[in-house]
Amino acid sequence: MSTDTFLPAPDLVAAALPTTLFRFATAGSVDDGKSTLVGRLLHDSKAILADQLDAVARTSADRGFGGAGATGTQAIDLALLTDGLRAEREQGITIDVAYRYFATDRRSFILADCPGHVQYTKNTVTGASTADAVVVLIDARKGVLEQTRRHLSVLQLLRVAHVIVAVNKIDLVDFSEDVFRDIEADVQKVGRELGLGSDGVADLLVIPVSALDGDNVVDRSDRTPWYAGPALLEVLESLPAADELESHLESFRFPVQLVVRPQGALAPDALAGGLDVGAYRDYRAYAGQITEGSVKLGDQVSVLTPGQAPRTTTVIGIDFAGRELAEAAAPQSVALRLADEFDVARGDTIAAAGTVREASADLYAALCWLSPKPLREGAKVLVKHGTRTVQALVRNVTGKLDLASFQLEPTTTLELNDIGHAQLRLAAPLPLENYLHHRRTGAFLVIDPLDGNTLAAGLVNDHPGDHEDERYSI
């Protein structure tokens, strides 16, 4: 009833308090119960509100789902909570990545729910590109499938920091420890082959769950006494987010989005608040989002402009909407003031001095091909890297990854959902960095110059035969 009076209980004050943000994605094969798991997480963390639940319960009943549930209540099809589009409900499938939101008193979560059947690479790449962690589902009755190997392979390629494998439908194998241990061993074997969880880049956890009944999803289950580890939500609440892991270790990177230069056109509300017009007449700052690392007042930085040698100067201001910060870190959006009046424009990158790899017009990359229009050698495309978009020529397609065997096969073309290696020649040099160490400045988009569609997700590789460290300059 919408005319309810709200009666806040005292503990809800805590629910209104701040948390940190954690982004994760789910990936799985057809019918492994992913939507049910997502529905279970949302339902058991009380992120589903009564009117949403009513609508789902009505639809479940209309379709004769399940009959009476185990606890004597009407069973509901939790998958209906996430399948949002008309076609999805009509066809009973998930078409596109859906974003869901829920919070516990420790964290706010953004969940990218990636469908598993058609276009799974496209969806998994999309969801994983921003995720701090990815949950991969396996059906306990089926174990590790070829598609599981493909998923893990994509996650390794995209350098997702935490990979959690949920062995679902553990109720359907009578909560058998033997079944779980076999699957766990298979997962760890694949992980080792890929380098997941062994090279310090990512960790790999395996959890037995029943999404349908809720075992080990939010709370630890007493039906898996042989499993001493945490429930899925406990893991998600405790893993460090990407910015918590990386920002101290990495060097400062800041693609310039635009120049803030009001030239007297100051905001009336700022003036009404007493802004000193004289002091801001010549205001000039470079606005952007810190993609990696952190910056302090007084830091030496290099300005990287294509076709020019890096210019080094000092940071004299870190502004955020009227506050001057002494320090800022990824992923903060700020505006930087520099000691020297260089000509700095959108597309330039400001980086910690002495840490910058020489800009290059030769781009060696892994491409996740996301378009039905295949890639051919000789194609002219656009490359969007940071805040700069340049023209590029595809010189060679050097191989296609067999995601099941992890081997590179020779090819001259890439098709939808293929992942391959290619060499591109850029119309202007870019400060490219290896994706292996730089999840932001090593990433780029390949765009179709004709219709503007996104063709591929690009991950910068080292030049063949290059030793990366030798390429650092300044």
């Binding site: 806040p8 209980a9 589009l85 409900r89 999309t126 056109a265 007493g274 955020f320 909407a321 001057e324």
Partner: protein, 367 residues
């Protein structure tokens, strides 16, 4: 530039008060940054309640030196940073953006984010309002005052004008929300806007949950949910062909609770009807409807006086109030955290038409 003078800490900035300290307990920044002195807001937003009377405003551009602890941003800081990044990307890459501004809380938050993104400069785009002619008068007054305060250009698309000219027909149920699409697309075309910011959030609706942050629309303003561009990392692809435009949703990843916590933290002013007030109402479709010129009770719908507030602010003919005693922003934050129904479920008759009501409207060019 090296002797930039005005960012030093202002020694005359007002001292920190108990109210500041109380605020800080609730404030995301409190753990990481020293409490900002009141003058620091530089007029970006209305002062926080409780600071208005007893604190001098406009203590200059005096700025507190804040230290953001790397890697420990609160979720609100992270969402704010993401939204500002998106707003700046769109302004940098498009010829002529505009921001949909209704005076509703999400659009007010959007405008606040835009002022922060371009500080100390003006917001570099106009605001666009599709006026159904059934708006709450206090919201229109708020809209005009805000536009004036920020020195913005206001473009209005009028549903009434289209009805008067016969290009649109009044619906049998009297609801005008679905009629907004035609004036919206007309305003976009006439003004050659190539990007339109909206305050849409993915937690609002199942169709919105699938929409991209930059959402391409064709010549007819239509959204094609099955043919969307993948959105990767923080790289937004806004390329479009002639006739197409893009809807940009910088607060896609915010929830209703995030919006309210942000309004509280930033001291953002909203139209008064978001807070509990006495109002003449009658019950219809399980909602409390305000008595107004376009919202008349039928014979069997007795009018009573109740303490209510609005969770969404739209067309008077289809927006319902909820019974609530939440008179302050803190009360509302707690109420929203405790709420057991969604804001649209609670207050929007137009979204109750069918399970896919929003999807169908969006496909036709709705917000």
């Amino acid at each position: 530039m090296s002797n930039f003078p005005s960012v030093a800490v202002d020694p005359d900035a007002a001292p920190i008060t108990n109210e500041d300290l109380e605020q800080s307990v609730q404030d995301n920044d409190a753990a990481e940054t020293p409490i900002a002195a009141p003058g620091v807001a530089s007029g970006l937003s209305e002062p926080r309640a409780g600071l208005i009377e007893d604190q001098p405003r406009g203590a200059g551009a005096g700025a507190a030196i804040g230290v953001a602890a790397p890697g420990r941003l609160s979720s609100l800081d992270t969402l704010e940073s993401e939204a500002i990044h998106i707003i700046r990307e769109v302004v940098a890459e498009f010829e002529k953006p505009a921001l949909l501004f209704s005076g509703g809380k999400d659009s007010v938050v959007m405008l606040h984010l835009a002022t922060k993104a371009f500080w100390p400069g003006k917001v570099p785009f106009p605001v666009l309002h599709v006026d159904t002619g059934h708006n709450f008068p206090e919201v229109i007054e708020f809209r005009d005052r805000t536009v004036e305060r920020l020195g913005l250009k206001l473009v209005v698309g009028s549903v009434q004008d289209f009805i008067d000219s016969g290009e649109l027909a009044e619906r049998a149920d009297g609801t005008r929300n679905p009629l907004q699409t035609v004036p919206l697309l007309d305003a976009i075309q006439r003004n050659k806007f190539d990007a339109v910011f909206g305050g849409g959030r993915r937690d609002e609706d199942k169709a919105r949950a699938k929409e991209r942050i930059l959402s391409l629309r064709d010549e007819f303003g239509q959204w094609d949910p099955r043919n969307q561009r993948p959105e990767l990392w923080n790289l937004y692809n806004g390329r479009h062909t002639v006739g197409q435009h893009v809807r940009a949703f910088p607060i896609s990843n915010w929830t209703e609770l995030d919006v309210w916590r942000y309004i509280e933290r930033e001291g953002i002013e909203l139209p008064g009807l978001y807070y509990a007030h006495e109002r003449e109402v009658f019950a219809r479709d399980g909602m409390w409807r305000a008595v107004g010129e376009v919202s008349r009770p039928r014979e069997n719908e007795p009018v009573i006086s109740k303490t209510v507030r609005y969770r969404t602010v739209g067309d008077m003919s289809c927006t319902g109030a909820v019974e609530s005693a939440a008179a302050t922003v803190r009360d509302v934050v707690i109420e929203v955290a405790a709420s057991t129904i969604t804001e649209r479920g609670a207050t929007r008759a137009d979204d109750r038409i069918s399970e896919a009501a929003m999807e169908d409207r969006k496909k036709d060019g709705y917000f």
